[in-house]
């Protein structure tokens, strides 16, 4: 091949792996700014505290792949978290049945989204904005807006599996693996991609688009419930602001990882996982750099917006570079003919 093509391929490779490169660059930058950042303990801390956002983001990736959106994940966390805390604190249930019941409740909230979107056919944005608002109200009703501290058996967030890996990381890993298997290795997953690419064609191909669409919102509701369990186990309580604003971080994580808001493009691994860690790293990094606490809430969305903006630019650049050219440029032609001439005896 010639120089022109290999350079182009090099640029393309860089552009396609931007999330990973961004991750490394930001990690190194923070490490240079503060030595405490570049430690195994901190790295583990970043993954561990991003676990619940990661679980949300995996569910969100399913939804975004269909071209939809789920704004209600934070509210779902609050409803199921409220139920969990009330069962544990007020009714003295033991941990496992309480988790089970609260997760079923959260998943049912996802089913409500699924029903309204796939059967009543209201736009996902409107439906989940509604279930977000109503859900926070329901959560307040359940907890009576109390700050409920859960008993110590529920605070397993700092425990380690076999004394090695923190439980939240184990659960995140489990969810990511399940997400990859479902999306890449089952007909269900591949059909989600197909529907996200062209819903009309999916219908014509005989796919059951209604149940496919419903399934992603149920998955998202389930993931939100599981994320709740992880968050409660780490934070040890359910307050009135529990789960507030997490939808932004979940969507940002998924999009930073390369998921398209238009549907059909994206992957749980490595994309969403790296996106999650990026989001977490930015907020952790600011704590280390002692950025004003009130500024932090403004800075991290700004950084995320910037990253998404870069992402959009990158996608259009990739598209332009991958376009088929009509003519082979003179220089290349000349190079080839010269080569031919030199080979001739």
């Amino acid at each position: 091949m010639n120089a022109f093509h290999s350079r182009q391929r090099f640029i393309l490779t860089i552009l396609k792996n931007t999330p990973t490169i961004l991750f490394v660059v930001i990690f190194i930058t923070f490490s240079l700014l503060d030595q405490r950042f570049f430690t195994w303990a901190n790295f583990e801390n970043i993954i561990s505290s991003s676990a619940f956002v990661g679980i949300l983001a995996v569910g969100m990736t399913f939804v975004l792949l269909t071209g939809g959106i789920d704004l209600s994940v934070g509210a779902t966390m609050y409803i199921s978290g409220g139920i969990l805390a009330v069962l544990l604190v007020n009714h003295h249930w033991s941990v496992l049945p309480a988790i089970l019941v609260s997760m079923i409740a959260g998943t049912l909230w996802g089913c409500l989204n699924a029903f309204l979107i796939s059967k009543v056919k209201v736009l996902p944005f409107m439906v989940t904005l509604g279930t977000l608002t109503a859900g926070r109200g329901l959560g307040l009703l359940i907890t009576q807006s109390n700050n409920l501290a859960v008993p110590s058996e529920m605070r397993f967030g700092a425990d380690r599996l076999f004394g090695l890996i923190p439980i939240p990381i184990v659960i995140l890993a489990f969810v990511v693996i399940a997400g990859v298997i479902i999306l890449q290795w089952t007909a269900w997953g591949r059909q989600i991609y197909a529907m996200g690419n062209d819903p009309e064609a999916a219908k014509k191909a005989g796919l059951n688009t209604g149940s496919l669409l419903a399934s992603v919102y149920i998955v998202s509701g389930f993931c939100a419930s599981l994320a709740m369990v992880v968050a409660v186990s780490q934070q040890g309580s359910v307050s009135a602001s529990f789960g507030e604003g997490v939808e932004f971080r979940a969507i940002a994580a998924s999009v930073l990882g390369g998921t398209s808001l238009f549907g059909g493009v994206g992957a749980v691994f490595p994309g969403t996982l790296i996106g999650t860690m990026l989001v977490q790293m930015i907020s952790t990094g600011m704590v280390y750099l002692q950025v004003d606490l009130y500024l932090q809430d403004m800075v991290s969305p700004l950084v995320i917006f910037f990253a998404v903006f870069v992402d959009a630019q990158r996608m259009s650049l990739i598209k332009r570079l991958e376009r088929r050219n009509i003519r082979v440029e003179k220089t290349v032609v000349q190079a080839l003919t010269e080569k031919k001439a030199s080979l001739a005896p």
């Binding site: 197909a194 064609a201 493009v265």
Partner: protein, 503 residues
């Protein structure tokens, strides 16, 4: 002797009380290629949509292999062995070829929910070999050319074990070479005993391929018979319902010597190279080029939706400095794009809304920018009647519901409202039936007669020879030749386009 695979018996269908199919009866022999022709709105697509399970029929019945056949949805038509290759391909561009083939019916590993990727790959390889596609099953569909995608659709039909394959206008986005390849494959399918229904406006192709020809007009079968009973002239008169002596309207004006648009050494790396031409007032200048010759890109550069690296564009004696569609519209340049569905029209908006798009600012009151509704309504009414757009209510009906020819008239009308002095039209008659083609040529002739200049881009040599004053030939991103009206010669133009006969 008769071995009928499919029979339509007195099939009726109406949409909202308007009959689109009346008493349609057709017998189709197993293993034949049926060419189906008719104007837009004649009912071909509806008939095929009924066969493919996309829409239900009202009365009559269909027999498949002698059995009653009532498809409830596309999936049941597929199961019955009917594959429908739509004009707009139904492939998922974010998936691989293999996944596209098996999307509705993936093989699993045993009874587990996991895909048997090995089997999917090997099976796909077999089907790709049947259509002569030398591609890896893992290739993503968005990397394929339109021709390759078409063949993937055929492979998909084969993978579903279809016995009847319907092609609806399969060649509209293919290059000449890809078309030839597709015809080869169709012949091979024919040999292996498949029944094929081939729908096209390109009558020459139908005549070449079909064993039998069915002509539809206004929802009725006007004639069926073996190919030898037909010639192109007869096909046209049957479709249109009257004798059409000439395909092209008479020109009423002559070009002037006054140059209105000039391109000097236009180049863009990898796209076009050293483009020089001048367009005169009152001239109809044809640009002949096949798909991928750079013709559309040239049009985009002239209109300002694409940039260029070198050279200059001179409009009315002034060198263009700024490149943008807004600037072009101010200079009264109009651009009828190649793809009316995606680039030319807002499909779900009304006819009136589409017509008003370009000239909307002219109907706004000064300062407040409030629309002068009555003036706009009046202007829309004028254009609709001037161009004979067939629409019940231009202010209520969506463009989506119009036939291809009428949609194209709306695109033209949108620009005509701005009184263009330079009009660039890119494949204005693609997917448009014979009658509407004549009307579109007439509209363009009128524009030219009023003193505008037209750049007419097309891959149909006949229509360029029929309507143009001069023809430029494009290929490989360059202008390869220019023919004056006296030298118009089909073969010579083609040879030039392919760079045959010397460099």
């Amino acid at each position: 002797m008769d071995d009928l695979i499919l029979q339509f018996c007195k099939v009726d269908k109406s949409f909202f009380g308007v009959p689109v199919l009346k008493n349609v009866s057709i017998d189709i022999q197993r293993g034949h290629i049926i060419g189906m022709i008719g104007e837009n709105g004649a009912g071909k697509s509806t008939l095929m949509n009924i066969l493919g399970g996309v829409v239900p029929f009202d009365a009559g019945n269909m027999l498949l292999n002698g059995q009653d056949y009532v498809p409830h949805d596309p999936a049941s038509a597929t199961r019955a062995g009917i594959a429908f290759i739509h004009q707009e391909l139904n492939l998922f561009t974010n998936l691989s070829i293999a996944e596209n083939l098996f999307i509705s019916n993936f093989p699993h590993v045993g009874k587990s929910p996991f895909l048997n990727k090995v089997r999917i790959r090997t099976k796909t390889q077999e089907y790709l070999a049947m259509v002569d596609l030398d591609l890896s099953p893992d290739t993503m569909v968005d990397k394929l050319s339109p021709g390759e995608r078409q063949l993937v659709e055929v492979a998909k039909a084969l993978s579903q074990d279809a016995s009847i394959i319907i092609f609806d206008e399969p060649t509209t986005s293919l290059t000449a070479r890809e078309t030839e390849r597709l015809f080869g494959i169709i012949q091979r399918l024919h040999m292996s005993g498949k029944t094929i229904i081939y729908i096209s406006h390109i009558l020459r192709d139908v005549l070449q391929l079909a064993d039998e020809i069915v002509v539809l007009r206004d929802g009725e079968v006007v004639q069926t018979g073996p190919k030898k009973e037909f010639d192109i002239q007869k096909m046209i008169s049957l479709m249109v319902g009257r004798y059409i002596g000439t395909l092209y309207p008479e020109r009423t004006s002559k070009p002037t010597e006054q140059v209105i648009l000039e391109a000097r050494g236009l180049s863009k790396a990898g796209i076009v190279h050293d483009i020089n031409f001048s367009l005169h007032k009152g001239e109809l200048l044809g640009v002949f080029g096949l798909m991928g010759s750079g013709r559309t890109e040239l049009a985009q550069i002239i209109f300002g939706t694409e940039t260029y690296d070198h050279g200059e564009i001179i409009v009315d004696g002034n060198r263009r400095t700024q490149q943008s569609p807004v600037k072009s519209i101010q200079q009264n340049i109009a651009f009828v794009t190649e793809n009316r569905r995606e680039e030319g029209l807002l499909m779900v908006s009304t006819v009136a809304e589409n017509l008003g798009l370009v000239t909307l600012p002219k109907f706004a009151m000064p300062v407040t920018n409030v629309m002068r509704q009555s003036a706009l309504i009046e202007a829309v009414r004028n254009v609709v009647s001037l161009l004979h757009v067939k629409v019940n209510d231009a202010f209520k009906n969506q463009v989506k519901g119009l036939s291809g020819g009428n949609q194209q008239k709306v695109v033209l009308g949108k620009w005509l409202m701005n009184n263009p002095s330079i009009l660039v039209v890119d494949e204005p008659t693609r997917g448009v039936d014979v009658g509407a083609k004549y009307e579109i040529y007439s509209i363009i002739n009128d524009i030219v007669a009023k003193g505008a200049a037209v750049l007419f881009i097309s891959s149909e040599i006949e229509e360029l020879i029929g309507v143009c004053d001069r023809i430029l030939v494009m290929g490989f991103g360059e202008i390869l030749g220019c023919f004056e009206q006296a030298d118009f010669h089909r073969e010579k133009i083609l040879q030039t386009a392919f760079r045959e006969g010397g460099k």
